[in-house]
């Protein structure tokens, strides 16, 4: 038997499932900022991130019956946000790289320099600028692995690629970003 996740908002979510607009608003208030952060890191802060935030919440509320309390509601919602962003990038963006079509690189052990050193003078603004220069696919994979905490199997399922492709492209994304920052 699958045990249910002890979701603190379970009662509120039950009300949302009945179409209760007040409950929807309460849930939105709790999660909107964090989810905007996810959108902003994936596509950059601004109107597009805000538009995607709206779309993701509409999608979540319309599909709320699919939330079966197997994981935290926040994690379920975040997956919807990520999928909404991915759909948008795949439809609209010209810089989306089909990740599984790219040549895969062998996994080399990180060098001493890579493992223990990085110029401390490089700050958040430079990193953000570098992230925005990356191809969408690279930026997504870096975000998912490093910041959202997904492992390569989970990323493979989300992006519909193999786990080895995820590993290989993560490595390429990191290398590309480091190259941009050290220029």
């Amino acid at each position: 038997m699958t045990s249910l996740y002890n979701e603190p908002n379970a009662l509120l979510i039950d009300r949302v499932k009945t179409g209760d607009r007040k409950a929807q608003y309460q849930l939105y208030q709790q999660y909107a900022r964090a989810m905007y952060g996810v959108c902003g890191r994936l596509v950059g802060a601004g109107p597009l991130a805000e538009e995607l935030l709206q779309d993701a919440f509409v999608r979540a509320f319309k599909n709320i019956h699919q939330y079966q309390q197997k994981a935290a509601f926040g994690a379920w919602l975040k997956q919807i946000v990520i999928r909404t962003v991915l759909n948008h990038l795949q439809k609209k963006s010209t810089t989306w790289l089909p990740l599984d079509a790219l040549p895969q690189e062998p996994q080399a052990a990180p060098s001493y320099e890579e493992q223990f050193s990085f110029p401390s003078t490089i700050g958040r603004k430079e990193i953000q600028a570098g992230m925005q220069q990356l191809a969408d696919g690279y930026r997504i994979i870096l975000n998912l692995y490093l910041f959202e905490g997904y492992d390569h199997e989970e990323i493979a399922a989300i992006l519909n690629i193999s786990a080895s492709t995820s590993k290989s492209q993560y490595s390429r994304a990191k290398k590309r970003l480091r190259g941009l920052l050290e220029q």
Binding site: L11, D14, T18, G19, D20, R21, K22, Q24, Y25, Y28, Q29, A32, R33, A34, Y36, G37, V38, G40, R41, A45, E50, L53, Q54, F57, V58, F61, K62, P110, E114, Q115, F116, S117, F118, I122, G123, R124, I127, Q128, L142, N143, L146, F147, G149, D151, K174, L177, R178
Partner: protein
């Protein structure tokens, strides 16, 4: 449990900076913007309200059938009344009759009957919807329809495109009855669900 990732110095730096970026982004979203986006979300959900409805066949209570029949009869009377009024207004000689435009008594009575049913339904909805789940939005929609109705009525009194206006007025009243019926049904479903939740908690 997930295995902890071994990160390089570069990855640590990226992670730290992106966490700071996340915090800043979260603070960027002001209360005003949050409210604006909620309005957008709410409107989109409103448009897709049929998606939230159960797909089972709806049973319309008998009391609604009676009201629908009463409303339809009233509206028929309204149509007949208008034609009668138009005939009465046609000059039979060269004498020009100047009158203040006014709806004849029959039309007024039919309209009043329809409005009375609507008023009664609104009162019932407000009385039952103590938690204000449905009533505010429904009333807003009804007010907009009332405004449109009054505008059409004024145009009708000025004798502009009578047939089209009569049809539009009939549709307006029909729509108001329909909105009220749907609101009551939705409220019944929500209240039933709340009761079930309460019963569940008490078990």
């Amino acid at each position: 449990m997930k295995e902890q990732k071994k990160l390089t110095a570069f990855e640590h730096t990226l992670l730290r900076q992106q966490q700071a970026e996340q915090e800043e982004l979260e603070q960027d979203l002001t209360m005003d913007r949050l409210a604006q986006h909620w309005e957008g979300i709410s409107n989109q959900l409103e448009e897709g309200i049929e998606v939230l409805q159960p797909t089972t066949e709806k049973v319309v209570p008998v009391r609604y059938l009676w009201r629908a029949i009463a409303a339809a009869a009233g509206l028929l009377l309204l149509t007949w009344g208008y034609h009668f009024y138009a005939l009465q207004q046609r000059p039979s000689s060269d004498i020009v009759v100047v009158k203040t435009p006014e709806l004849p008594l029959e039309i007024k009575q039919a309209e009043e009957a329809s409005f009375a049913t609507l008023r009664e339904d609104i009162q019932q909805l407000q009385k039952r919807d103590t938690a204000q789940w449905i009533a505010p939005k429904t009333l807003e929609a009804l007010e907009e329809l009332e405004e449109a109705y009054q505008q059409m009525k004024n145009e009708l009194l000025e004798d502009q495109n009578g047939k089209v206006l009569i049809n539009a007025m009939l549709e307006n009243l029909r729509l108001r009855h329909h909105i009220l019926e749907k609101s009551v049904l939705q409220l019944e479903r929500i209240q039933q669900h709340s009761e079930e939740q309460l019963n569940y908690k008490e078990l």
